[in-house]
Amino acid sequence: MTNRRENAILAAPLVLFLLAILGFPTVLALVYGVSDTSFQTLTSPEFSGLANFRQVLADPTFWQAAWFSLRFGAITAVLQCALGLALAVYLAPLVRLHGWTVAILIIPMIVAPAMMGLMYRLVLHEFAGPLPHYLYQWLGWSPAFLSPAHVFKTVVVAETLQWTPFAFLLFLTAYQSIPEDLREAAAVDGTRPWRRFWTIELPLMLPTVWVALFIRFIDGFRVFDNIYTLVGAGPGGSTTSMSIYIYETFLRRGEIGKAMAAAILLFVTAFLALALAQRLTRKAAR
């Protein structure tokens, strides 16, 4: 009981600080979300109740964007974690001998995602890009990376290549923190390396796996800059993520109230997902 009060007192300054910083934009977003607002009426929003939310939920483009973000977040998170885990386990002995190799492996993470998108835009360009050029030269064939048929795969690969190092780094730390004598005990107990991975190492890394999956999913779900600089909203809106949808609604179409309503929906969904994930991990830890 006193513990709870102490916690509240100790957390109060942080909460106040966050409220002060985030409070104003949040209040503004809430106000615009329930108002009929355009750039002309920014200073005098007119209350419109839940009309914006109704409009958003009735917009097929919103649902298309939500579906894109969900798929993109889930697929990239799973790919990155699987690749990152495999790399971490495979490269751990090398890293132990030569620590500096990690620095090379995490370079993609340091590049700004927007730059990454631009770079792929150059490299994959159908007429000017080096990759299609050489594929044509050597194989006489090249997929149209940015065409409606392939663009989803392309952005998934781009995102995965950039952020697998993040998962790798998390898993490497988790892998290295497993006490060596557990592996040795398992070996003496008659367990081959492959089985040792499934029975000892992976279970001990499981909390990290959940955390990595969750972080990468949220990050993928909110994806904006690399996709926007690579293909924009995509052919036929095929790469419109939630963030891109909000951005376009806001700036391109000037429907500020609707954009804010979508942003609030996105936030609430993310918050619920976070709460759920936290509950699940706490349950798993027990």
Binding site: A186, A187, V188, D189, G190, T191
Partner: protein, 356 residues
């Protein structure tokens, strides 16, 4: 169950020789203890046997089978680690069952063997706990349980008692002795504690700097140490080791005010004037004795029925320790006559080798 043979086993780590040409034969059913000071390479030797380290040279034979190149998981041994190395994400039951499940034994057999091990080690009520919920002694028993279920050819123990408090250590020592009698499996046991070695072993291997100094039964090592190191290491309190030189048929002790004692029976006499070491166990000293040294008591430790006396010749450097029965009236400053027989004397040459 199997015997163990090491043939010219060596291990170099980074150009530094950690195990040096170790040859050893441990008979089937023995309780063999590797003992030596910290850092002498005991763990390395044990890990070589387990297959956790690769030998640089030499052979390891378990039950006559050469396992030098066999990976750890195919050697069919069991090891108890100093840290216990329990799998933290598994219950006690799953920890104990782990080796059997790795060997893909049928589940009813696994359950039966786990129950049997739990009964022997009194772990029945703890089977559903995780290692984090156990005390040190309980973890230790789980680690032993994990080793005994698989009925291995050989048990390997690396300082299993060193993380326990003194009382529990004595208790577990008895438990281990009982377990060995009950199972009859060959045990190789590492410790830096010579008391543990003396009380548990049927065969002691004294190690120093990666070399075998002497192999023998506890009493063989106590009664007939081969060299200065073994003499000083085995036995508690430590053997007195005094500087000595031969003059005629007597040994002069410069560290004891130049007093002299007769030579013990020797096959060949050492050269006169060569610096020798004279060994005399504290237990061999009493108030009476054919020979004696005149000393003055410096410190007295009353143990009850026995008394530990530390004394030296006036103005001399070397302290002599004696363990005498009774001795309740002894106190510092009193003169003390340390009596002994010549048969109790050990003589070592300048390189530390025993002269016989």
């Amino acid at each position: 169950m199997a015997d163990l043979r090491l043939e010219h086993l060596s291990k170099r780590i980074g150009g530094h020789s950690v195990t040096h040409d170790v040859s050893l034969s441990v008979p089937d059913g023995a309780f063999c203890v590797f003992v030596g000071p910290s850092g002498c390479g005991k763990s390395t030797l044990l890990r070589l046997i387990a297959g956790l380290e690769e030998a640089s040279a030499g052979r390891i034979l378990v039950g006559g089978r050469d396992v030098t190149q066999v990976p750890a998981w195919d050697r069919d041994l069991a090891m108890v680690f100093q840290s216990y190395a329990l799998y933290p994400h598994m219950t006690v039951r799953d920890n104990i069952a782990f080796a059997l499940r790795s060997a893909r034994r049928p589940e009813p057999e696994v359950a039966a063997k786990v129950a049997e091990a739990a009964r022997i080690l009194q772990l029945d009520s703890l089977l559903d706990r995780k290692p984090a919920q156990l005390s040190g002694g309980q973890r230790q028993r789980v680690a032993i349980g994990r080793a005994i279920v698989k009925q291995p050819k050989l048990f390997l123990f690396d300082e299993p008692l060193s993380n326990l408090d003194a009382e529990l250590r004595v208790h577990m020592r008895l438990e281990l002795a009982r377990l060995h009698r009950q199972l009859g499996t060959t045990i190789v046991y590492v410790t830096h504690d010579q008391v543990e070695a003396m009380t548990l072993a049927t065969q002691i291997v004294v190690l120093r700097d990666g070399r075998v100094e002497q192999v023998g039964s506890p009493l063989q090592l106590y009664d007939a140490p081969d060299n200065l190191f073994v003499a000083g290491f085995i036995g508690s309190p430590k053997m007195n080791l005094l500087a000595a030189t031969r003059q005629g048929d007597r040994l002069v002790l410069p560290g004891c005010g130049g007093q002299s004692v007769p030579l013990p029976p020797l096959a060949a006499l050492p050269a006169e004037g060569v610096p020798l070491h004279l060994g005399l166990r504290p237990q061999a000293i009493s108030a009476t004795g054919a020979q004696s040294l005149d000393l003055v008591i410096e410190v007295v430790e009353h143990l009850g029925s026995e008394t530990l006396v530390h004394a030296r010749a006036p103005g001399s450097a070397e302290l002599v320790t004696a363990l005498v029965t009774g001795g309740r009236t002894l106190s510092p400053g009193q003169p003390f006559t340390a009596g002994f027989g010549t048969a109790a004397l050990y003589l070592f040459d300048p390189t530390g080798q025993r002269l016989r």
